[in-house]
């Protein structure tokens, strides 16, 4: 495990706590004029692998001062059932935001359900409309993981304008939004992927390398420019020779930190910040709902 006192390691927990304290202060102020509703986490069917996520979200919500309700719908719920229930949550002014936990049962079409969440309640930033808006630099409710990666770049203190960033991975919910969000801040972004001829040619010249591929230890020290920042979004479950299950990032953290100027560990890097971004989206959702006239002002 990386030593958290190593100044090269960006401690995601510390960033999370700082962000949650800021969000709490802003929510407390906002709550004086307009009621702050609750976050509703939806799981469909029993699914032990998401419990740890939900628990982390509930804990972060408490730290941010946000009411958090966990609902579990039956595994046999139909797509139509789920849509109808989401529509009811959209209409309920006491619901600030909706989180749809994944995985869902095989008969549920997850993208379609995500589209059913109203964009102003889409605190995960997963609605295709929200993601499309990123093209227009409207990053109000960005996908949380992408927003967390950007926050990690910010945590380095590097100046964004002109920053040379190489994004490895071009998924709709991470790679592409990250590229857009950093472009909007003035960075020069190259997006690499499985068809890129030489990822190393790009990563070795970058000030910041962000990796979201899903291959354990894909990125070694020979791919990083000395002093660069390395943001690792990968979460890979690997069983070692002794049969022990470990969580590894896409970056060989131990080796790369000897070269990098900054590096995010896995676990304990981008993950905790992603949860904080969910709460920041909730704060933004509240502001947007106030601006849209959805919430009645509290009388003085």
């Amino acid at each position: 495990m990386a030593d958290r006192r190593d100044h090269r390691i960006i401690d995601g927990k510390a960033v999370q706590h700082r962000l949650l304290a800021e969000i709490r202060a802003e929510l407390d102020a906002a709550a004086k004029t307009h009621p702050v509703g609750r976050l509703v986490s939806i799981s469909i069917g029993p699914s032990p692998e998401i419990e740890v996520y939900v628990r982390n979200q509930a804990r972060a919500a408490a730290e941010a001062g946000l009411p958090f309700e966990q609902v579990v719908w039956p595994a046999e719920a139909t797509q139509e059932d789920c849509k109808r229930k989401i529509a009811a949550l959209n209409d309920d002014p006491s619901v600030l935001g909706i989180i749809l936990q994944r995985p869902v049962p095989a008969h549920i079409h997850v993208r379609s359900l995500q589209s059913a969440i109203h964009p102003l309640k889409d605190v995960e930033g997963m609605n295709p409309a929200s993601i499309g808006n990123i093209v227009y630099n409207d990053i109000a409710l960005a996908p949380c993981t992408a927003a967390a990666a950007v926050e990690m770049v910010r945590a380095t203190g590097l100046s964004m304008p002109g920053l040379e960033v190489v994004m490895i991975g071009h998924s709709e919910i991470v790679g592409k939004p990250v590229a857009f969000m950093l472009m909007a801040e003035g960075a020069t972004v190259t997006v690499c992927h499985h068809m890129t001829r030489s990822v190393a040619m790009h990563s070795r010249r970058a000030d910041v390398v962000i990796v979201a591929v899903g291959k354990a230890h894909l990125i070694g020290p020979e791919m990083i420019k000395p002093g660069a920042a390395v943001i690792d979004i990968g979460i890979n479950q690997v069983t070692d020779a002794a049969g022990k299950v470990r969580i590894l990032g896409d970056v060989d953290t131990e080796a790369v930190r000897e070269v990098a100027g900054w590096i995010t560990p896995v676990p304990g890097g981008v993950g905790p910040v992603t949860v904080a971004m969910l709460m920041r989206n909730a704060l933004t959702a509240h502001r947007r709902q106030v601006a849209a006239g959805w919430l009645e002002a509290i009388e003085a």
Copy 2:
């Protein structure tokens, strides 16, 4: 003027005619089962600078076998008038597509009017919803200029997967859509802009350089790798010392073609292909309207 018989020059007119012939054949086939409506070009107020554009569009429409109607609304039309009229065109099944010519009078909000055009009739691909869909690789109705740039890359015959592309300029309607469309085909794309530390560092390593900045002769031969393809989207009106007005691209074509493997001239490069893309979008719009059940089948 560049010699069009120079094999390095990609002749936009020739590409246009080839594309329009292909589109005409497909439209002729489509018209056997479902009626093909007309394109409606809307100008608001008199505006001599757009006449040449409209004329070129009308000519290309004729070549593709598409009915083309030009309407001019009064300069004093309000935003609400225009929206109402666009809604009527959206509802009219004999209207295949709507083109909103620019510039519009100062009191008209152009982006809002573009949003009023139904996405299935948005043959210019300017509706924010259409552009947002590009994130999801749904490039059905892409902005015409961006689509034309991609078509020009295709005209080189270079294989897209792994192609190293540098896009200079990151506007919503050209740079960003081009980046996404080429990423979707497997290219590795870097987007440079006014805050990029060294554009030359990127452009000199690229297999393809695409420029959409709006600065005459910004790109010289020292910025291009020998044998690379150079796609010039710039259209700059420049008055020379003798008082003569000339149209120049963002690329110093005469100098760069001594280095480049392929180059698109200005005028006569991307421009004519952009008009062909408008007709290709019309063909796509027809297919989508048929799929959506908007058009009644012709009885045999």
